[in-house]
């Protein structure tokens, strides 16, 4: 066993039972994370990035969502085989998560201090609830001014950026090995986003945890992560180091996505457009899921799902282009 390995997800398949049938939201996702690494998952809404995160925490809505297949090895142990009681010892302790909505993830009727101290100690003695020493310390760590006063206040008295700082304080207070951040800055303004990203970078340096960053924003990915997974329709279509993805994307979807972002550092040009829209998870597609929107699609793309093949040590690609099955001339 590789002692450097923190998380190893193998062939994860999460489905949702809907009135339209079974929808595979995550379909055969395989990836791994080293200790202290920062990995990003990027994709458009509905691509399965958030469901992947919820599967790791086993927080899927029940009974509609279900992990059908695969393994999630966290520090060598399969999370999917654990009982709910054992899972509680991992959730919020070894793996923590912060969500997009700092408005709804805090309890509106409890003081900030009470909520932070709850995160510190699962089973609290009564007297501990009123000891605000530790919560104050944590609020100070995430850069909240006047923490002595803030612990006595309620979530509605805080701004969005402050609530997200509090969420981060609660998530890291147990010193987790892995922090999953699901669109942590999407609901925030740019100047506040810059503050939160800076804070997360500093805390990562201080505590050495691994961060799994889930976002639709390539800018956040570029800033925060070392390695990226690009997801489309429940599958990983490309995996690479962040500089490789930004400078030399290989999958037609990644290329299109990057070209369609208006850039601040570039001269004005017409934006690239990926025609069509993301397929519904309940639409069954044979072949490559991106093929209906791909200008390079061929016979083979319609018939067979391209496997995720390795290009070099860190790069993986799921596309027929460049394989022997794909002929350069014959295009549809």
């Amino acid at each position: 066993m590789n002692y450097n390995l923190l998380l190893d997800v193998r062939n994860l398949r999460t489905v949702f039972y809907t009135s339209d049938g079974v929808a595979p939201a995550v379909d055969g996702v395989t990836f791994s994370m080293k200790k202290g690494e920062s990995l990003g998952i990027v994709g458009e809404s509905g691509c399965g990035k958030s469901i992947t995160a919820l599967s790791l925490m086993r927080l899927l809505p029940s009974p509609s969502g279900k992990i059908e297949d695969g393994q999630i090895l966290f520090e060598g142990e399969d999370i999917l085989k654990k009982s709910e009681t054992a899972m509680r010892k991992i959730r919020g302790k070894k793996i923590s998560m912060i969500f997009q909505e700092p408005m709804t993830s805090l309890n509106p009727v409890l003081t900030i201090g009470r909520q932070v101290s709850e995160a510190l100690e699962e089973r609290q003695k009564l007297w501990q609830r009123y000891n605000m020493g530790k919560p104050i310390e944590w609020l100070k760590k995430v850069g909240i001014s006047l923490p002595e006063r803030r612990v006595l206040e309620y979530p509605h008295q805080m701004s969005g950026g402050m609530r997200q700082r509090i969420m981060i304080a609660m998530a890291i207070s147990s010193n987790p090995r892995l922090l999953i951040a699901d669109e942590p800055t999407t609901a925030l303004d740019v100047t506040i986003q810059a503050q939160i990203l800076e804070l997360m970078k500093n805390l990562k340096r201080e505590f050495g945890m691994a961060i799994l960053m889930i976002t639709h924003d390539f800018g956040v990915i570029a800033e925060m992560t070392e390695r990226v997974l690009v997801m489309y329709a429940g599958k990983i279509v490309e995996e690479a180091r962040v500089e490789e993805i930004l400078q030399d994307p290989k999958h037609p979807y990644t290329i299109g996505l990057l070209a369609s972002i208006p850039r601040i550092d570039e001269k004005k040009r017409r934006l690239h457009v990926i025609e069509g829209s993301v397929p519904n998870p309940s639409d069954f597609l044979t072949g490559c899921a991106f093929q209906p929107r791909c200008k390079y699609a061929q016979e083979i793309c319609l018939k067979h799902q391209p496997p995720l093949r390795a290009l070099n040590g860190t790069r993986h690609l799921s596309c027929w282009i460049g394989t022997s099955e794909y002929s350069e001339e014959a295009q549809l």
């Binding site: 100047t191 506040i192 639709h216 924003d217 800018g219 601040i264 829209s277």
Partner: protein, 331 residues
């Protein structure tokens, strides 16, 4: 699109103010005012796109609504083709409204779920007595095609469409009356990047085709840079800097603009090499506006004068196109 320098002024906003009363105390008396828009002045030339950019709560959406007269202003004037619109009787104003349209951010909330697409787009035509019956249906089909939807969608309902398609329906509805001026309030903020680029391109094509003038309100600096000719940066109800796009991005002058530009994550590994200006704290409350410059509580270049005196918007270049409200630039 770049005829902005020769074109004439289509809309002129003069010292526009919108204060919302804040109720409190016994019997909900008005105890204070939330100063959402505070003495904003600018003009937009025909065929031009003016981008208004700012963080949430800076008053940019209220500004759009007041210009459309969806909210009555506290004071100030808006001149549309030289006519003052706030003093105008409702009947007369309704005729003028044909030429001014607004499109909202939320493609889910802004279309009536019980109305078919044909009805949604056809309604303004009927209200203004432009087309009825088969003529109306023809026009609706034409509009659907203009915004890149199939005319066969005419009998469908909003829930059958994706976010991007709904935004197209919203655009078709706004275009139905051949407007000259459109206020676009965060039209692409709720869309995914690949859909966002489709809508931005569509808006640019339509502008060229129908010679439209846009007021583009957004918080996204990259989008606003892409689509605008000129940009106004708003902070706490006021415009703090206004300039042509190239100038604002090459020579940002207000400390807030500088911080805003440096805060955008760049598409370079590790965020690139630039130095980031990190602002401390949040946007202060627009109810108790501090004396002096509104930005001084977060400003990293604060001087004594900033606390006591409010700076006014003044030109800083020869062409008088680049306006900044900051003591640093004036003295």
């Amino acid at each position: 699109m770049n005829n902005s320098l020769t074109g004439d002024v289509l809309i002129e906003v003069r010292k526009l103010v919108k204060h919302f009363p804040v109720a409190g105390g016994l019997f909900s008396r008005t105890v204070d005012y939330l100063k959402a828009v505070d003495e904003v002045s600018f003009n937009i030339k025909k065929g031009e796109t003016l981008g208004i950019v700012g963080e949430s709560g800076c008053g940019k959406s209220t500004l759009g609504r007041v210009i459309m007269r969806l909210l009555e202003p506290t004071s100030g004037e808006v001149l549309f083709r030289g006519q003052e619109i706030f003093g105008m009787p409702c009947k007369e104003f309704r005729k003028l409204r044909r030429d001014m349209q607004i499109m909202f951010q939320d493609p889910y909330g802004s279309l009536n779920p019980r109305m078919s697409v044909g009805k949604i787009i056809g309604e303004p035509l009927e209200i203004h007595g432009i087309a009825k019956g088969p003529q109306k249906i023809e026009r609706v089909k034409e509009l659907l095609e203009v915004v890149g939807l199939s005319p066969s969608y005419i009998h469908r309902y909003p829930h059958m469409f994706s976010g991007g398609q709904r935004q197209r329906i919203g655009i078709a509805r706004a275009l139905a009356l051949h407007p000259m001026f459109m206020i676009l309030d965060e039209p692409v903020s709720s869309l995914d990047v690949s859909t966002q680029s489709q809508i931005i391109n569509l808006l640019e094509d339509l502008q060229e085709k129908f010679v439209l003038t846009y007021l583009f309100i957004t918080h996204d600096l990259s989008v606003v840079k892409h689509i605008s000719d000129r940009i106004g940066v708003m902070y706490l109800g006021q415009i703090v800097e206004m300039a042509p796009v190239s100038k604002i991005f090459s020579h940002p002058s207000h400390p807030y603009t500088k911080a805003l530009l440096s805060a955008i994550p760049k598409l370079e590994p590790g965020g690139g090499s630039r130095k980031r200006i990190l602002l401390t704290g949040d946007l202060p409350s627009p109810i108790h506006v501090t004396k002096g410059c509104r930005f001084h509580t977060r400003c990293y270049m604060k001087m004594d004068i900033c606390v006591s005196h409010e700076p006014t918007l003044m030109p800083v270049d020869k062409e008088k196109e680049h306006l900044v409200a900051c003591h640093l630039k004036i003295s």
